[in-house]
């Protein structure tokens, strides 16, 4: 036991003893793990966002299809849909994108109408409010803003006024408050004037950041929809209802519809931003290959540089296992140290909104210039990062230590 404590101590002391080598090896690991970790934390953020947003999604969403393209859906099908077993609520929804030009920036928000009379009497709605109140039946020309929209339009939101000012180009005296009116004139010629009554929390960033919620009637007026038209129809089921079964029945009943379950929509977002996303997968592959190549380059370094030292140690009675143990612990410490610092840097970078590459990370979903990249850091991600950062380096480094340790000491010294 004392022998192994001695060997562990030697490995730890070698980190300090060979400072230049330690820094040379650790810095690339730090950089690689910083990049890996901010990507993983951001990816986790998108996935978590999608999962959180699912709480607020309808069980089934129905859109109209014509010649394979999404079109307005006729509300004439609602009576038939209501006959499907376990259907609790059927609500039409009118929504669309509103392209704006603010301070020379091309911005696109989502204006979404809600059938206020059909809103489920759910206290959870109160929990999503950052400030003000939610829409109630009968509300007209009133709007609830997503957190990001409110920030960009200069609303006093949250406690971080500085951040709000960074996101818009107005001075602190011009900050708007709940109860103020906003006028929307989009670049397509649509016009509307709304009183802001509430701001959504930013916890569901992907879904709510660019949202402007109004009544269906206001949305109809804004987008020029007829009384019996909507962008889609939302279906809420009771506890015994099966979304898949209801979706199947609707698609069989109405051929010109596209029917999506909440699960399918969530998966769509997770796939888009998650592990199967092409960009993320490719970057992961490159990073992982880099880690392995780096570890392998270390093996060459060890073979050439430390061969003599290994020969000397063996000539004084060190066993091959002793040498491998010291070299592996050294590598383990390099990997652990580099990975720990890298994860910390990656987390801080992700928290800062991945400056410089956030637009690239968000990709085609970047309909809002100040869209924050969500961050999620959980135990699984941390464990996976440590596995990626520590194990390949440690194992691959053991190979040259073993090779150098198994040859005759005189050969090792001459190497």
């Amino acid at each position: 036991m004392k022998k192994y404590l001695n060997l562990l101590l030697v490995a730890v002391q070698n980190l300090r003893r060979y400072k230049a080598k330690s820094i040379t090896i650790t810095i690339p690991i730090i950089l690689m793990m910083a990049v890996s970790s901010f990507m993983m934390f951001s990816r986790g953020g998108f996935v978590k966002d999608a999962e959180m947003a699912r709480e607020f999604l309808p069980d089934v969403t129905i859109q109209g299809i014509e010649a394979g393209r999404v079109v307005k859906v006729s509300l004439d099908i609602i009576p038939e849909i209501k006959k499907i077993p376990h259907v609790k609520t059927v609500a039409p929804r009118v929504w669309g994108y509103i392209p704006l030009k603010i301070d020379d920036l091309d911005i696109s928000y989502t204006l979404m109408g809600l059938e206020l009379e059909d809103l489920p009497d759910n206290p959870e709605f109160l929990e999503v409010m950052e400030d003000g109140s939610f829409l109630v039946p009968g509300d007209r020309n009133k709007v609830v803003l997503g957190y990001g929209v409110a920030q960009t339009l200069g609303f006093r939101v949250g406690e971080d006024i500085e951040q709000a000012l960074e996101l818009c180009t107005i001075s602190i005296s011009d900050l708007k408050n709940i109860g103020d009116e906003i006028t929307i004139d989009d670049t397509l010629g649509n016009h509307g004037k709304f009183k802001v009554i509430g701001i959504l929390k930013n916890r569901v960033q992907v879904y709510s950041a660019d949202l402007m919620l109004v009544s269906n009637d206001d949305a109809r007026d804004f987008f020029g929809y007829a009384e019996n038209e909507a962008s889609d129809i939302l279906l809420y089921l009771d506890e015994n209802g099966s979304a898949d079964r209801a979706a199947l029945m609707i698609s069989q009943l109405f051929k010109n519809t596209r029917v999506m379950t909440a699960k399918a929509l969530t998966n769509l977002v997770k796939e888009a931003f998650g592990r199967r996303s092409g960009t993320f997968s490719a970057m992961w592959l490159i990073l992982f290959s880099t880690v392995l190549m780096f570890a392998w380059s270390q093996t060459t370094h060890i073979s050439v540089d430390a061969g003599t030292e290994i020969g000397i140690l063996k000539s004084f009675g060190w066993q091959t296992g002793d040498i491998i143990l010291v070299k592996m612990v050294e590598s383990l410490l390099y990997g652990f140290l580099g990975t720990s610092i890298g994860i910390l840097l990656g987390f801080v970078y992700a928290l800062m909104g991945t400056p410089g590459i956030s637009g690239y990370c968000i990709g085609c979903a970047s309909i809002y210039p100040k869209f924050p990249v969500p961050v999620s850091c959980d135990a699984d991600s941390i464990i996976l990062l440590f596995l990626i950062g520590v194990i390949p380096v440690t194992l691959i480094t053991a190979i040259p230590a073993w090779l150098a340790g198994t040859i005759d000491p005189d050969k090792a010294i001459k190497s």
Partner: protein
């Protein structure tokens, strides 16, 4: 004590085999001071390495106290090297990044001796070598003579009974040669077996009991 019989040693260099030792037989008794003489590449260092179990014979036998050690596996040879042999290399082979006392204490690490105890033992040896003031100097900060003294200290720290030195006079000045001779004299008086390999034709010290002249991997009859 050491019996080498009909030993051949070949190295592979690229695609060809190089004959390093060609039918060598040597007997060395306990407490003898033996001198291996010969030009560079004559095979004396190879035989020294075989005796010290740093390499193996290609054929022939090597008996250490009647035990056939020439084909022992490495995990048996490691403790043998640690307990029986002390090596002094031509280039001293101190480990850079380690201080003088840490270099001396290197062989003690796998023996489970604590750092405090290792330092105590190393300082005692440095005191005997008149090098106490350099105990915490890094290996690369020491002069050639001081490095050799540290290398000697490292060879002696386990109190081995066989001392092997390869070209120990090559990298030190005349003053240190005399100092080294004194140390060897003390070791011989303690009953240690000492084997030195050198390219010098004549034994550099009067302490030598037996000399073997090497030429092209063989022992020359010329005395």
């Amino acid at each position: 004590m050491i019996s080498i019989k009909n030993v051949f040693k070949r190295y592979k260099s690229g695609k060809i085999y190089v004959k390093a030792l060609d039918d060598i037989s040597v007997n060395i008794e306990k407490g003898e001071f033996v001198f291996f003489s010969g030009p560079s590449g004559s095979g004396k260092s190879t035989l020294l390495n075989i005796i010290g179990c740093l390499t193996r014979v290609t054929s022939g036998s090597y008996l250490l106290e009647d035990k056939q050690v020439s084909h022992w596996p490495d995990h048996f040879l490691s403790p043998l090297r640690r307990e029986r042999f002390g090596f002094i290399f031509q280039q001293f082979n101190l480990v850079s990044g380690y201080s003088a006392w840490e270099n001396i204490a290197l062989p003690l690490i796998p023996m489970g001796i604590s750092q405090k105890e290792r330092r105590k033992k190393a300082l005692l040896i440095l005191e005997n070598l008149n090098l106490t003031t350099r105990a915490d100097f890094m290996a690369q900060e020491l002069s050639g003579g001081q490095q050799q003294l540290v290398a000697i200290g490292r060879a002696l720290v386990n109190n081995p009974d066989i001392i092997l030195a390869d070209e120990p006079f090559s990298n030190i000045d005349a003053r240190h040669v005399e100092n080294f001779e004194n140390i060897l004299g003390n070791l011989k008086n303690q009953g240690k077996t000492i084997i030195i390999a050198s390219h010098f034709h004549e034994p550099i010290t009067k302490l030598v009991d037996k000399t073997f002249y090497f030429e092209n991997g063989s022992i020359s009859p010329k005395q």
